[in-house]
Amino acid sequence: MRRPRREFLKLVSLILAAELVPAGSALAEEWNKPAFAAKKLDDLYKALGANAPQQSDQVVLIGPEIAENGAVVPLELESKLPNTEMLAILIEKNPNPLAAVFTLPAGTLADIQTRVKMAETCNVYLLAKAGGKFYYAAKEIKVTLGGCGG
C-alpha cells in the first residue's frame, strides 16, 4: 500500500481535537461545519486541531481493494484500543476529506459499519481517539468505472 504522503500525515496528525465532542454528551452536538467544509488540509487543521496520531495495528479499517462504484463503498471501522471514544473517516481525494465522525460513549464497541462515497481512487483513513491520544490506519481503495460503461 503506498506509504501515506508526508503532507497527508500532517492532516491526520492535526485532526479532530480532543474537545470536538465531549464524550457522552446527551445533546446531539452542533454540526462541525468548518471541519466538514474544509477542502484544504490547513483549513481542516484550524477547524479541528489535534496532536500527532500514530499508525497502529490496533486500528483496523476493513474495505474492498477495488470498489465497483464510488457511490457506495462499504467500510468497517474497528479499534481494539481500550476506551476508544471517537472514530472518524477521512477520504483523501474527496472534495471535503472529512466524511464522518462517530462518538462512542463508554459501553459502545468501537466496531461500526457504514458506506461512503469516494470521488476517485485514493487513501482512506480511519482515525481513532483513545485515552486522549490519536491513532490511525490507512488503506488505498481503487474506484473503477464499474459496470459495462455502455
Binding site: I66, A67, E76, Q113, C148
Partner: protein
Amino acid sequence: MTTSNLRAPARWLAALAAGALVCGAAAAVLAQDDRAAQEIQKYRQMLEEGNPADLTEARGEELWKTPRGPKHATLEHCDLGLGPGRLEGAYAKLPRYFADTDKVQDVESRLVTCMMALQGYSYADAIKNWYQSESDIQLLVTYIAAQSKGAKIDVPATQPREAELAAAGESLFFRRSGPLDFSCATCHSHAGRRVRLQEVADFLLPEDARAAMTKWPAYRVSQGEVWTMERRLIDCIRQMRWPEPQYQSEALIALQVFLQKQANGGVMDAPGMKR
C-alpha cells in the same frame, strides 16, 4: 429452441489467417484480472447486508393497501394470475396470458391493468413518471416481487400466445442493428465473460439466466434507486444505441417471456442489489 446450433463456432478460413487469436498474452493478463474480479466479489459481499430496497418494499406495501385513485380503492383485489389478491409467488409466474385482457402481460403491465380497473386511474396517470425515483410503479413492483421470495420461476410459455412471444423474444434477443451492430446476444451469449469489470449473464445458459432473473427488480447502487425489469431492458436498449421502445410495449414483454423461460426453476430472491 435447439441450443446445439447456437454454440458451434464457425470455422472461417480467411478469418483464421488474418485475425489469429493470441493466447499467450491473454494468460498473463488473466492472472491480474482474476484478482480484480475477486476484489469486486468481496466488494459485493460487503454490500449484501442492508439493501435500501427494503425501504422501497415497505413503502410499496403501504401503497398497495392504501385506497387511492378516482375510485378510492386499494389494490388488494388485484389478480396477478393466481386469483384476486393472491401475491405469494405471483411475480415468479409472470409474464403470462390473461384472458380478461386477452394479452400476455408482465408484472408492470398487469399492475397498471389493476390500477385502471380497481382504482380508476387512466393509463397515463398510472404510468406517470414511472421511471422516476420513488414512482408508484417502482414501489409497487418492488413490493410484489418481494412476495415471490423463495418461489421458483415458472414461465413455461406453453399457452399459444405465450409460446409465440417466447419465440419472437428469442429472435429479438439475436436481432442486430444500429451503429454498433449490437444485439442482446452480443454481450449476453458468452459464458464467464466480462464487459469491463461487469460479468454479463449468458442467457443461453440456464444457471446464468436464473442467477440474473431471480434478482430483479433490484436496488442499483449507481442510481440509488430500485429498477424494474422494464427499466433495466430499456436502459440496455439505450446502450445499444437503439431508439427507446414504448414502456410496456410487446417487444419488452416478448424479451421477458424468453428470459424468464430461460430462467425457469430459478429461486426468486428479489429485490436484489446491483451495481
